[in-house]
Amino acid sequence: MDAQQHPDAAARPVLEAPDIARVLTRIAHEIVERAKGADDVVLLGIPTRGVFLARRLADKLEAITGRGIPVGSLDITMYRDDLRMRPARTLARTEIPGDGVDGRLVVLVDDVLFSGRTIRAALDALGDIGRPRAVQLAVLVDRGHRELPIRADYVGKNLPTSLRETVKVQLAEEDGRDTVLLGLREPAETAPVREQ
């Protein structure tokens, strides 16, 4: 897809590149504040875009604390609860930093928080990898409509949406530019099967 063109004409940007940068800086400061220095923080991004966000957050945390922050990725595909609703999916990379997650403060990073099912799967996946001291969640956009008792600890932007709307995050690493787009579903898709 041409990154310069909106896939659907109705989509309008709600966050632009400078907003995303500012929001990530704020979240990084919040993490340092709440973790009292971020000594034992491990950032785990959820593929695809959560991984890029986690790396950006790690850079900002390093700038603040002057220390290297372990950052990795956590693929949740094998833990999804809707695997049988679609053809088998391609797996993404799980990369746990060398020192593991045992006894650390793990901050999961994703781009959009919606039903909460992805995070449920991520918690299950994390449980098979180790036993963190605590797990927190950072998201760029919280669009509501939770289906599970899950909330984010750090939110870039709360974006009240209707189920007819779509939220699309684009990041330079993957899509060539930074933006968050709010659009409308195609009429044919107005009653989609809700997934994770």
Partner: protein, 330 residues
């Protein structure tokens, strides 16, 4: 990917690379404290083995269990098959038990194909070796081992074996491993050379996507990987070579021969090995021999195959775009 895995020749390049890439992720599970994934919970995998096997059956069993599937092992010995039950009736029994996948090894070439196309069962059929026909998961794990050794676990992702020179040596006539490997390696872009005594080269080999040579010493210096095949005495009903000593002198791999291979080249063996026959202990125990690695990789490959066949509501099709997670999947 199709619903069944019967032949390595059925796999497209995209399918094959998808399986290898998936296996690479599965291999990482083996390094974790909890070597188990919940993905195939509630699915039943039947290992239907009409022929002796240790590593393949254990490997499929380990793979299915690591994915949390229920495993039923069925071996012909000690079952109703020894009372004369037909493949059809055995299949209908398994279907009645609700098998989601049947992993079959059979002494008759074509048995898995029959099982998959007869309509006797609804589940996926995975060929774990049929007669002298094919053994696709062995070829996949061989290709996986080569890609890891020659290109690297991470650098190899998304890639085939383009331009690699693979030599397969020995009893090609009786080898389903060789047949599957020739097809799969050619699909992945490798150049395959078969080296065997003329009596152990199958009829019709000129239609295979490979070359045939009879002098091992000429081929070795140009090989990136050398795969030694077991001499399958149990399938030999005629004299294919004068003596074992002569065979091993001309087609066996010993330390001197191994020294002729390029520095980076690896020695492979699908097992079980006949030490002293096609491979000497010196070579088998050297760091260049990947036999044990192949067994470990076999579990990863079989996890990948079972996941791609059973992990969704239908088997995975050709790889979708890298970022297949859409907005509504949060």
């Amino acid at each position: 990917m199709k619903r069944h895995l019967i032949s390595a020749a059925d796999l497209t390049r995209d399918d094959a690379v998808l399986i290898l890439d998936t296996a690479e992720e599965m291999a990482r599970v083996a390094d974790r404290p909890i070597k188990k994934l919940p993905t195939l919970r509630g699915r039943t995998v039947v290992n239907l083995f009409f022929e002796d096997s240790t590593r393949t059956r254990i490997s499929f069993e380990a793979a299915a269990k690591r994915l949390s599937a229920d495993v039923i092992n069925f071996s012909a010995k000690g079952s109703s098959v020894s009372k004369g039950e037909s493949l059809k009736d055995t299949a209908l029994t398994l279907e009645a038990m609700g098998a989601d996948a049947v992993v079959i090894r059979h002494h008759a070439s074509g048995a898995p194909y029959r099982l998959a196309t007869s309509g006797w069962i609804d589940g996926s059929v995975v060929n774990a070796g049929d007669g002298t026909h094919e053994h696709p998961t062995q070829a996949l794990l061989d290709a996986f081992t080569m890609r890891r050794r020659l290109t690297g676990p991470d650098d190899g992702l998304g890639r085939g074996l383009d331009g690699r020179r693979i030599t397969i040596v020995g009893d090609v006539l009786h080898s389903r491993v060789a047949r599957s490997n020739v097809h799969l390696l050619a699909t992945l872009g490798a150049h395959v050379t078969l080296v065997a005594p003329p009596t152990l080269v199958p009829v019709g080999v000129q239609t295979w996507p490979c070359e045939v040579a009879y002098d091992l010493d000429q081929v070795l210096p140009k090989s990136d990987a050398v795969m030694m095949l077991r001499v399958q005495r149990e399938r030999m009903n005629a004299a294919f070579f004068p003596t074992e000593r002569e065979y091993s002198r001309r087609y066996g791999l010993d330390g001197d021969r191994m020294a002729k291979m390029p520095e980076h080249a690896v020695v492979m063996h699908p097992g079980p090995m006949n030490r002293g026959m096609e491979i000497t202990a010196e070579v088998a125990d050297s760091g260049r021999c990947t036999a044990v690695e192949q067994v470990a990789n076999g579990v990863s490959i079989r996890m990948a195959v079972l996941y791609l066949l059973l992990g969704g509501n239908e088997p995975a099709v050709a790889t979708p775009a890298a970022s297949s997670r859409t907005e509504e999947s949060k």
